[in-house]
Subunit: 477 residues, 2 copies
């Protein structure tokens, strides 16, 4: 399979974005459909990205004092029902276990769609005094939501995520935690995934069921459709009251504790694809790529072998994830393989090139080829290139996002934008639910988030009355 052939397996991104997306998932072997409708198999290439995401995020969480734990997969029906908003939000989309072994269960158990109820149930018996607070717990696990329409990584019935659940003795501390974790997600998207993203607050309509408020990180995909990318919820005492989680405060009085929760999911793999990849396959920012460099020998012989080995050693010593492709396939096949799989840099070591004291490095993002001296300090050359690539990818994505960020002052302008090229739409809003609902009638345009720090002149984009807040609107996955 040579480069040209491989490309034929991928639909053009500009021609059919949805088909292009599933083509990338398939040819880069990130995930496959399973025999269970709506559930996917995350294949090794996809799972390696998730493992790297986990490693980086987990390290940040722990730096901030969080610890991991594991709650049960199943939630008893009566426990789920204690928090009214939550049950209304999730009940239509949970899977129910009604039979264990050969017997019908006395009480149905739902597979967790999220674990607030279980954490509350645990905290209730383990928190007695203000000295037991805060508890900064997180878990990495699978959750299930019985979605109707599904798409690999973006929306599937089962997905993997982390859910942090913290509990505090003051409102202030809990609010700080909510902010802090949003900061981590924002940093992770911008600095690691090279996905420029916007932070803000969800409207009342769009916030998490049961939260006092929800902070969200919003990213824009190449096609102008928005993707929610990490949320952090402040619960105040809502859950504590529903689940009776009290502590004795410093004045020796009983008080309901203050809670937060925050999460990110395997959806981020979908975002990586939709922001960076191209018609040749997956493109991964160096900081998240499980394998950063592929070394491809061209031709045989001791010289080529020694050089590839020497480069591999130097790069591994510099903690750059590297492999040599010594399979019996043709160089052309190997090149295409690195392209499809999004290996950031490919180092081509050819017999003739070595005679000319040269080696070639190919960048995956620009597909540019760079010729360097064969006896250069390869580790520092590669380190620099990876840094440049990381920054270039971020800037390219930022440019695209800026090009697809529009301002609208009335519904006609919104309609015009969405009918030509969707994107983020900045528009003022009066705060009324009816206006938000009216906006949604235009091709499903939803509020992404309220940006508190920014304002533009004008009245509510829908009703024309006095506007309270600047909202980013858009179509969503």
């Amino acid at each position: 399979m040579d480069e040209k052939k491989e490309n034929k397996l991928i639909t053009s991104r500009d021609k059919d974005f949805a088909k292009w997306y599933t083509d990338i998932v398939r040819v880069a072997r990130l995930a496959d459909y399973s025999s269970v409708k709506g559930c996917i198999v995350i294949e090794p290439n996809g799972y390696a990205i998730w493992e790297k995401m986990q490693a980086i995020l987990d390290k940040e969480f722990k730096k901030l004092g969080h610890v991991n734990c594991q709650m049960p997969l199943l939630i008893p029906e009566n426990l789920l029902k204690k928090e009214t908003d939550l049950v209304e939000g999730f009940a239509p989309e949970v899977a129910w276990v009604t039979k264990g072994g050969e017997k019908n269960l006395e009480e149905n158990l739902c597979i967790r769609p999220t674990s607030e109820t279980l954490f509350c149930d645990y905290y209730k018996t383990h928190i007695k005094s203000h000295r037991d607070l805060p508890k900064l717990y997180n878990q990495w696990c699978n959750v299930l939501r019985w979605e109707k329409e599904t798409r690999p990584f973006l929306r599937s019935r089962e997905f993997l995520w982390q859910e942090g659940h913290t509990i505090h003795k003051t409102e202030e501390e809990a609010k700080q935690e909510t902010d802090k974790m949003m900061e981590v997600y924002h940093w992770f998207h911008n600095e690691v995934l090279a996905i420029p993203s916007i932070r803000g607050r969800k409207t009342e309509k769009e916030k998490f069921a049961g939260a006092e408020y929800t902070l969200t990180n919003e990213a824009l995909m190449y096609n102008g459709v928005a993707l929610q990318s990490g949320t952090s919820h402040y619960f105040g005492q809502k859950f504590s009251k529903a689940y009776d989680v009290k502590f004795t405060n410093k004045d020796n009085k009983d008080e309901y504790a203050y809670q937060t929760s925050w999460g990110t999911t395997t959806r981020m793999i979908g975002a990586l694809i939709m922001v960076h990849s191209d018609d040749y396959g997956l493109v991964l920012p160096p900081r998240i790529a499980p394998k950063q460099v592929a070394i491809i020998p061209i031709g045989n012989g001791e010289e080529v072998d020694n050089k590839t080995k020497e480069i591999e050693d130097a790069l591994i010593k510099a903690e750059i994830s590297t492999y040599i492709d010594n399979s019996d396939k043709s160089p052309g096949f190997k090149f295409a393989d690195t392209e499809v799989n999004g290996i950031p840099l490919r180092i081509e070591v050819g017999k003739r090139d070595l005679q000319d004291k040269k080696i070639t490095i190919a960048r995956r993002d620009t597909r540019e080829k760079i010729v360097v001296e064969s006896n250069c300090d390869i580790a520092s050359v590669v380190e620099k290139l990876l840094e440049i690539m990381q920054n270039d990818m971020y800037n390219k994505a930022l440019k695209r996002r800026d090009e697809l960020t529009f301002t609208a002052h009335n519904l006609d302008e919104v309609e015009k934008i969405l009918s030509t090229q969707p994107g983020f739409i900045k528009a003022m809003w009066c705060g009324k639910l009816s206006c938000e609902e009216k906006m949604k009638e235009i091709r499903g345009c939803k509020s992404r988030c309220i940006i508190e720090e920014e304002h533009i002149d004008g009245k509510c984009v829908v009703c024309g009355e006095k506007a309270k807040e600047l909202v980013i609107w858009g179509l969503q996955y």
Copy 2:
């Protein structure tokens, strides 16, 4: 809470082993019961042990070429039923999802008790030629088995594990894989968990449903009861035939592929407790302890602060997991806390001791106190102590196991052993199922494994007829 008080929370191990076990789980805050019968909450202290187990095992798996992936949580009923032995083995103990959202499902889905079926279903569509083989896949996940009697870590309805599922083009390669992974488990138990264990083959009766043979790693707990600690299964072509997993071999002919699977679970946390812990709390071998050293300041002042910080820096630099307990609790409370939580070494830094140029190190396993010069090379002193402790713990456990390993030549001897002090019982066996079943009638004594390399004189311990193999028998968790 001082040392004496804390100990009162733990039942004596020799008085009531079962109660002692649950006391350790509770006071070391490893796990707690949940609102879902038979499912536990793995608390941060317990989960940190699991994370360290995962890190060490995962590194070994990857060194051997394995990659991680993630199969769905749910298995359609008809898929599960394709392999007859497997469904007979597991059907009585699975949980069934019969309702998704508000609708009854057309086909019931079971929560995976193990994932052979899902891997086969995947391999079936992804393996075409011998060039696609081998596939060395593993997953870390949760599984569910609807057990009646449960106990934290040892037997719970939901547990965490890793399940490797590999597929090969030859019988030989698959058998080598089966051996190799048993070797990893054996190494892990002996070298990392300091649990001396025995490798062998399960009898036909005790092997995994659907396997051609099962290799097992068996450990003996302090009370003489055996615990299966890692199994590795050779499937031959059984699953490949049931699920139609074929490949084109080098002669261009269709052939069924050869498979293996192998797994270890959070049960290993239970084994760690039951082999090493004592009446003062958890005892962890240094190589698996998430926190290896606790530094306890005694008294205040700059000198103490500087010294504790200096020690912490030196140990962290040497990659020894260390923390200073600067909480406002008393030194006595802090000492008890390190004991209960099984921190291998505790370094006590006191104002007066520093004036005498001394610091004290307490070993958790022997509770011995060692006084060293305050200006010694603390990192190398600690490194050596941790190594000695690791070896001593292994040897102590080995001594206990050897003391509790008996030989029996007839059923009277078996009965006599089990009625005084259970343990591993070595006895010859003719190979007949009826004899194995008769053995079980004696207080539930089961075959643990067949040791192929070893023989003792004598006939079958049950029927007295010609014996084929040496079997290790015992009571089990």
